[in-house]
Structures are given as C-alpha cells and as structure tokens.
Amino acid sequence: MPAEEIFLNLQASFAGLVKSEAQVKGYPTWTVPAQALRPVCDRLRTKFSFDYLDMVTAVDWPASAGAVTQVAASAPAAAPTAAGRDVFELVYLISALSSGIRVCLRCEIPRKEPSIHSLYGIYMAADWQEREVYDLFGINFEGHPNLKRVLTPETQQGHPLRKDYVHVPDSYD
C-alpha cells in the first residue's frame, strides 16, 4: 500500500488533509489540520499498521523572522517553508516498519496559546518527545499525563527554542 493510496484513502474521510507544499525532502509530507491530527494517527496505526513514531518536533515561525529573509517572494509557486505566518509548525514522522513506508505529518497552530491533542495514547514514544517540545517551545499537549519540563531545570522561565526568547539571568549565571 504505497503512500499515494494511503493518502487518497485518508483524504476521503478527512477533508482537511492536503498534500503539503512545504515538502520534507526524502519523505511524502501531508498537512493535517490540528484537530484532525489524532484521528489521522489513530487511523494510520489501526488500518495501515503505522506502528512506529519516529520523531515529534516543532519549528517556530514568528511573523517577523520569515519576512526578513523575503523567502516567500523569491520562492517558486509552492512556498518551501511556512515562513512569516506567525505559527508553530509541528512535524510528526510516522512509519510502518514492516512495509518500510515513512510519512511526515505537518500541522500549524497559532503562536498565541499553542495547544494540540497529545498522541500519548497511540504512541508511547510521544510521551517524552512531547514533553521536550513543551519544554523548549511551550506548546501545550492536552491529554498528556505529566506534561513537565524534561530537559531544562524546573526553575527555567520561558521556552528557549522560541525565536523571541530572551534569557532571564537566573541562579545558574
């Protein structure tokens, strides 16, 4: 069942699912609306035996940064990145080890109060990776049992990997 048929099959039931124009080189990339992410993953896991969650990560696209590099203007029709849209872009890499298909799911959530449904129930690998994304970006994952900081100390204020992060000198400096 190559990625194409899976995509068509899923697009039938999930309207918002669209082939993303910001392709991750090497893997088919689909854009998923934020609230449809968990049902899509559930469907992928049960129906198409996508049993392995490779990677969960986020990229911060503040309104200012993208515009500075005038990327959108010079880029061809498909904008290669979600630059300048003032969003958090969440990237999930899910694969079916038995058949060797690896698919990348992208979804964008507003930067104001970023929150999305956690994949904790479906993949246990999401447990710590989502805690790391929360720790470094401040994205809230609803339904995650213990969403606490995993890499930075508890006394850390702010989320370091945001582009607009300013370091508040604390006891360590």
Binding site: Q23, V24, G26, P80, A83, M124, Q129, L151, T152
Partner: protein, 377 residues
C-alpha cells in the same frame, strides 16, 4: 525530592536517588527509585543534567561550523553524528558525494561502531562486576583510536565527514594497519564470548531480565540493537540504505525475547558484522578504478542551501539517529532537530524498571546502552 515527598512513601518503602553521580549510570542520569527492600516499586528517570542547548547553538553557527557540535552529541560514536548531519544537509542542499568518499564514510562509521560497542561491552561487564573484559575491550578500542588519530587527527571527536565528502584521504600504511587490526580483532571476539557471554553467572544476571516485548519496543520508539533484540527486524542500513550500504553484504542480528542478554549479544554479533563491512570497504577502496577525489568540487565553505526542510537518518551504534534540518536560505540553519535514539531508550525505563531488583536496574540500564550527550542534547 521535588516529585517525591516522604509522606507519599508507604511504611516500608525507601526513596533512593540512583544518580546523577553514580558509578553505573554512564553519565549524569538520575533515576528516582522508590524501593521496597530490594524490589523497585516506582522508577522515574530524570534527565537534563547535560543539556547544553545544542539545537539553539545550531541556529547560531554556519553549516560547516555546526559540524563540530554534532561530535558532542553521542561522543562515543561521533562519526555517525557527523554522517547523519552531513546527509541531512546534503539532502537539503542537493549535494552529490563522490564514490570514494562514500566508501570512506562507511569504513570510518563501521570502525566507530566497533569502538562504540567495545565501550558498551566494557562498561556492561563492569556493571555486572567483571572488571577484566573492560580492559580487554579498551585495549582493542585503543587500536581503533590510533587508526582514527592517523586518519583524521582526533581520537574521540573527529569532525571528519564534511558536507560534500570527507576531510582527508587515507595516509600511507593505514590500510595495512586496518587489516592487521581486523585480523587481530576477530579471535578476540571469540575470547569475549568464552569470557563473558557463556559465563553462567553472567547469563543468570541478564537472561530473562528486563524483558521488552516487540509491541512495547515499537510503541516506545526504541531503535537499534534494543529494538532488534525484541523481534522487529528494522535496521536503517537495510530499510533505507544510505551511502554505499546497498553495495555491501552483511547480516543484521535479531533476537526474540528482548532480554538484557539478547541486547548484549546483538551488539556483540554486530561487531563481527562491522568488521566484515570494514574489510569489504577496504577492498573497494584499494580498487584502482575508483576515482581519487574525496570532496565534491564547488561546495562553498559558506553554504547557503535554498529554503526548505529535509530529514535524514542513519543507523548509529545506539539506534536510529536522525537530523531534521530546516533552512530559510541564510548561512546558518533555521532549525536543526536531532532525533536521538538514546532519548527514547531512556524513556522506556519508567515502564520496565518497576518490579525488578536494584541489581537489575544496573543490568537493564547497561543493556540499553544510553549516552547522556544524545539524551540531553
């Protein structure tokens, strides 16, 4: 003690801080153990002691400068980090690599895998109480470090693989020394087996301890020997061959029960396979018709890849190491996420440690072979 107030403990329970300074946590990892006598009731691994903010540092350096950071991720098998980083940037910038450089990359990666597994074998034996295999493992590893010192100047952190090729070709006499090492190393592997693998005490300590089922391993996202020991046969070198792995023939050891002994023995067999691969690479490199250049021309030092994203992953010695690179067309990467295999191998501890003894905590932690540089990034 933030997450553990003494009131929460029942009468006969004891709270033990296993780490961050502890002889067998292979680095700064703290496991908050709630113990009843010898049996572990609840385990909560706590990481972040070695967090250097690597992914923020990537954004402040150019692509060629960031290569030095990747050495410091999994500092025991630095060659795999360089390779994964360079594959991701090459895929991002669309750079081709000459064939000779591909063979050199696979050769050094496999030698580095042997060195990394030797460190695992030595420290796992010391965790079990046998001190001698540690010295034997480091005697062999010293020879690999000499080979790397001859080739790329560094003994632990090499920054040898560059975007578009490798930084240096084999010096005179290197191939003979490498063949001599591999010929010397094979019988030593048999020595290790008689010394430790078949030892009844070692088997009683590791066989049937820390069982991880296939579904559990897949769901928790384990990779590398930890995953293959539980059943699923997934090796990036076979599933998505990069460099010249499709031209080389080698076998990937797989086990079924997922116990500490299976993970241990998968790595021991992998060392033998890596020696085979290294030999095949040496033969290919000696072939006269192979073009001599090791670096693609025209790859600028100040690389500016077009805007876009790319993901590339490699079968590092500890698992499936991936780099997710996002470029916005400027000199330095816009975002560089490292998918560290050890980060997920540590996460599973909170599930499999409950119910085992303190001595098993050491065995399971050793068999998962984690490196804190890669966990905390």
């Amino acid at each position: 003690m933030t997450d553990k107030t003494s009131a929460a403990l029942k009468a006969d329970q004891m709270f033990i801080n296993f780490g961050p300074q502890h002889p067998s946590t292979h680095g700064v990892l703290r496991i908050a153990l709630t113990v009843e006598g010898e049996v572990v009731v609840k385990a909560a691994p706590d990481v972040g002691y070695l967090h250097r903010g690597m992914e923020k540092l990537f954004e402040a350096r150019t692509y060629s400068q960031a290569l030095i950071l990747t050495d410091r991720l999994d500092y025991i098998s630095a060659m795999h980090n360089n390779l994964a980083y360079c594959l991701a940037v090459e895929r991002l910038a669309g750079v081709q690599v000459p064939l000779r450089a591909e063979y050199l990359r696979v050769l050094t990666a496999e030698l580095n895998r042997i060195a990394s597994h030797l460190v695992f074998f030595g420290t796992f034996a010391v965790d079990m109480g046998a001190f001698t295999p540690f010295l034997y493992a480091f005697r062999e590893r010293e020879m690999i470090l000499d080979l790397f010192e001859m080739l790329c100047g560094g003994r632990l952190l090499y920054s040898y693989v560059r975007v578009g090729g490798v930084s240096a070709d084999l010096p005179a006499g290197w191939t003979e020394k490498c063949r001599e090492f591999i010929a010397f190393f094979k019988p030593r592997l048999k020595d290790y087996d008689t010394l430790l693998s078949t030892n009844p005490i070692f088997k009683s300590r590791t066989d049937g301890v820390g069982l991880i089922s296939a579904a559990q391993a897949l769901s928790w996202g384990l990779s590398g020997p930890n995953l293959r020991a539980s059943g699923p046969d997934y090796d990036v070198r076979k599933a998505e061959p990069y460099c010249v792995y499709d031209k080389l023939n080698f076998k990937v050891p797989v086990a079924r029960t997922g116990s500490c002994w299976d993970r241990y023995y998968c790595r021991m067999l992998e060392m033998g396979q890596s020696a085979e691969i290294a030999l095949q690479c040496l033969d290919a490199l000696a072939a006269p018709e192979l073009a001599p250049e090791i670096m693609t021309k025209g790859v600028p030092k100040m690389l500016k890849p077009a805007a876009g994203q790319a993901y590339a992953h490699v079968e590092a010695s500890r698992g499936d190491l991936g780099f997710y690179a996002v470029s916005d067309g400027s000199l330095s990467p816009y975002r560089m996420h490292v998918r560290g295999p050890s980060f997920l191998n540590v996460a599973i501890l909170q599930e499999i440690l409950t119910g085992c003894k303190i001595a098993d905590v050491v065995a399971i932690l050793g068999s998962l072979d984690i490196v804190l540089g890669e966990v905390d990034r």
